[in-house]
């Protein structure tokens, strides 16, 4: 287990008061914490990889993930558990039970939300619908128009979570399905520009719905050599997203990547490979302070 503190800054106010003045309690900023746990591309990896000497031998498995999630929930006050799609496909569990167990386990682990990956259409939109009706977590996507499909009232563009003092907006974006998923499977699902959809939704969440922090669950993919929309391009084009949790490219990162958004402010991207080998954990400390003193608007990595 690796732990790194990569965004850290004191508040000028608390620093000033703590060093010079006694009337600190009056001005001490209010604090609130949030723990974000996330997975992506679990691909029906219900059991750990077999002990066959392979690269991931013994890694992963829902039962181990659940135990760790429970432990973290017991230690942390405010926890969000999120998934970035491709829940389905990859082991016979999906071929034989159609994703039933995958969703059952996510319910049991109390996932808060998940976005939809291309392989989540592999049993057809009807197969996805069948499992979605049993989900106790939200399916979130803002760039697939499901209005002419059976999924139309089962997917939300965003969801707002109140955790302690913090209002968190979670939105989701998915990859272009044409050319990747047979149309017979996704049927009348319409793909909309993910950057525009994500930005419009994030703006709504931040400016009108009062969210303090906006998370984008993405199944666009981390980065491409060719000119193709990815988490990197979305990050550079966004203004109101604080964190992109990604999937699709099965990218293992040692730590979240910090990039500049359209306003030159920091935005983080993370992805945890695939198959449930890693559970990502971001522990975020929020403080309530004067905007002009908000150094976190320009956070930096401290290693």
């Amino acid at each position: 287990m690796k732990r790194r503190s990569f965004i850290k800054q004191g508040s000028l106010i608390s620093f000033g008061l703590a060093t010079g003045l006694n009337a600190t309690d009056l001005y001490k900023p209010k604090k609130s914490s949030l723990t974000i746990l996330h997975t992506n591309d679990v691909h029906s990896r219900i059991e750990p990889f077999a002990q066959d000497g392979g690269r991931y031998a013994g890694l992963g498995g829902a039962a181990k993930r659940a135990k760790l999630i429970n432990k973290i929930r017991a230690e942390k006050e405010n926890v969000l558990l999120l998934d970035c799609g491709d829940i389905f496909q990859g082991t016979p569990y999906f071929n034989f039970f159609g994703g039933e167990l995958e969703f059952k386990l996510m319910n049991e682990m109390q996932y808060d939300a998940a976005t939809i990956g291309n392989h989540d259409f592999d049993a057809g939109i009807d197969g996805l619908h069948k499992q979605s009706t049993k989900a106790k977590f939200d399916l979130i996507n803002c760039n697939y128009d499901f209005k002419n499909t059976i999924m139309h009232n089962l997917v939300k563009p965003y969801r707002i979570f109140q955790k302690g003092d913090i209002k968190i907006g979670v939105l989701g974006v998915g990859i272009e399905l044409e050319g990747l998923v047979p149309k017979t499977l996704f049927k009348e699902t319409q793909y909309l520009d993910p950057v525009k959809s994500a930005n419009d939704t994030a703006k709504l969440l931040k400016n009108e719905l009062g969210c303090h922090y906006v998370i984008c669950l993405s199944h666009l993919g981390y980065k491409y050599k060719e000119d193709k929309v990815s988490d990197h391009t979305l990050a550079a084009e966004s203004s109101d997203i604080d964190l992109i949790l990604g999937g699709h490219t099965h990218t293992f990162l040692d730590e979240p990547k910090v990039l500049s958004n359209k306003q030159g402010k920091a935005i983080q991207i993370n992805q945890v490979g695939w198959a449930g080998v890693v559970l990502g954990q971001l522990d975020i400390e929020f403080e309530k302070n004067f905007k002009n003193k908000c150094i976190s608007c320009q956070p930096k990595i401290v290693k």
Binding site: S5, L21, G54, T91, N95, P182, E255, G280, C294
Partner: protein, 244 residues
Amino acid sequence: MKNCNVLIGILFLSLISLSSCKKVWHVAQSDYTLNRLDSTAVFSDPISELIQPYKVKLDKEMNRVIATCPEDMPKGRPESTLGNWMADAIYDRANELSEVPIDFAMQNSGGIRIPLLRQGDITKGKIYELMPFENSLVVVHLDKALLMTFLDRVARSNGWPVSKNFYMKIKNNEIKEVRINGQELEDRIYNVALPDYIANGGSDCPFLVDCNRTTYPDLLRQMFIDRATNDKVIAASKEGRIEN
């Protein structure tokens, strides 16, 4: 002295109030923990119990050893032993099913879902991991121009798994030479065995969507399972089917 401090405090606050409008929640610190679920991690009993009835049903069928693999067979481009074995299995079965002779069989590289088939016993479950998709067989009937469009696509990906009667030389992701059964391409219809996923436009093959085709209900995975079960051995060699 205490009063004085409070006074300074109030003064400080007033200054801040003048310089900014209101307090807002913002990120003060962000820590990341990479939790690797390795073999030391503890299992949750309730979750294991939930999995158990599904596992019992699957294990009975999936843990059955159907063949052995004498040496590691990795996936790779432009050519790989694993890819050759798969493409040949599709080719042979397609030829049995098809009324017209098959020119060659191809499988998209992205459709192979394990990095390698390890030396040792191969279970039925391993073939499911190799090919989890419910892809069925399609034989597309392509004229020379459409065949070249398809092969250009394959060359851009630096080659896909292909059956034994095919040869292609690629340089900088472009085709330099193509031979099918040792012959240069002619103006005729070529019968190519593919996963339905590709024939239906998948993996950036939209040009195939409207082509002439014969579809079969037979799943590719079943072809691999049958081939492995019959042969008892899974093996193939690299023979320069696609070169770069």
